[in-house]
Symmetry: C2
Subunit: 174 residues, 2 copies
DNA sequence: TACTGATATGTCAGTTTCTACATGTCAATC
DNA sequence: GATTGACATGTAGAAACTGACATATCAGTA
């Protein structure tokens, strides 16, 4: 269900798009929240078209199909959002690794954490740049709340990794 | 691989445990990072035993099997941790919903966010209590870094939901 | 003209995960 | 003695997801 809803959301927010576009949009806009490959997206779009949630609006060069969300799709998305009890549990390998840190020798753990802090910092910089670009384009308000969340997540992870590395070094020496 | 490594980590940290224990430990200690049901855990433990990563140390009442991590299991876990090239993408339905908020009318979005803020706040309180209990038991240092991360995550999500609800209300009125 | 890289869509086999079903023991209480 | 709830392990079918394979077009450039 989540993939369907993510695709409907992207179509609603960004307007009509092809499977190829959606694959890239996933990467660019919500990769820190949900992830899907083209091998999952293409079949799903076909099923969604069969179920009347999207329509093929135009056919472009290279077999391109432009999908658009339907009334039905929009209705279903809103229902799902308001509906109380989904909540697929989080799966975050980065956080899992954090839990497993005690298995390593302190210097190894510190090296791992410094590396992660760097990666999170890079991702943070990319998201902040994206945010600035959106601000310049004048796209304000509603659409940027998720981006704000992404930025907060990356900043939190970076700070945690950095501070935990510091703490381990301090405890190791102390 | 992640499930295997999570189970090895739990066995290493908490000592020998049964599938039943591990199911509850998952819930209690790393549910905000990784999740698994007993229907996934029991078969995995059997496979891990066949692969020599764990051994059945004792057989208790009601068919209980006490698993312990082996040398080989410990080695594999450390290898996996240090090895660079994993990074399963994050899947977080809460964050996905954040992205989809623009689909709702402002009052609906605000109600949704207030509800989530409350849930995150409750989870935060539970983790903080767990942390205090650990501190009282004198379990300090290394083992608590993951718990610290969990606390930061819950606080971040709660604050984001609360502040975003405020912003939407402000924008809606303004 | 040939090559390269981005665009574009698909399938398939294997792995992971979810939901539901299924079974039985032991301790405490009524 | 019967019931209840926590303990304890499993299976099976379906859905979601991954990684690799497969194919073809179009634009720009060497």
């Amino acid at each position: 269900m989540s993939l369907r809803m993510a695709l409907l959301g992207l179509l609603a927010v960004s307007g009509p798009a092809s499977g190829y576009d959606l694959t890239k949009l996933f990467e660019k806009s919500i990769s820190h929240a949900w992830h899907a490959r083209h091998s999952q997206i293409y079949p799903e779009l076909n099923k969604m078209a069969a179920d009347g949630l999207v329509t093929v609006q135009e056919e472009g060069p290279r077999g391109r199909k432009g999908y658009a969300i339907t009334e039905e799709g929009s209705r279903r998305l809103r229902e799902w959002l308001v509906g109380t009890e989904h909540f697929r549990p989080v799966r975050d390998e980065g956080a899992l690794r954090a839990f497993l840190l005690p298995m390593l020798e302190p210097p190894e753990a510190v090296a791992l954490l410094r590396g992660e802090a760097e990666r999170y910092g890079a991702k943070l910089a990319a998201l902040e740049e994206f945010d600035r670009a959106k601000a310049r384009e004048g796209k304000s308000g509603f659409g940027r709340y998720a981006l704000d969340l992404g930025i907060r997540q990356m900043r939190m992870m970076r700070d945690w990794a950095e501070e935990t590395a510091d703490r381990i070094e301090r405890d190791d020496r102390g």
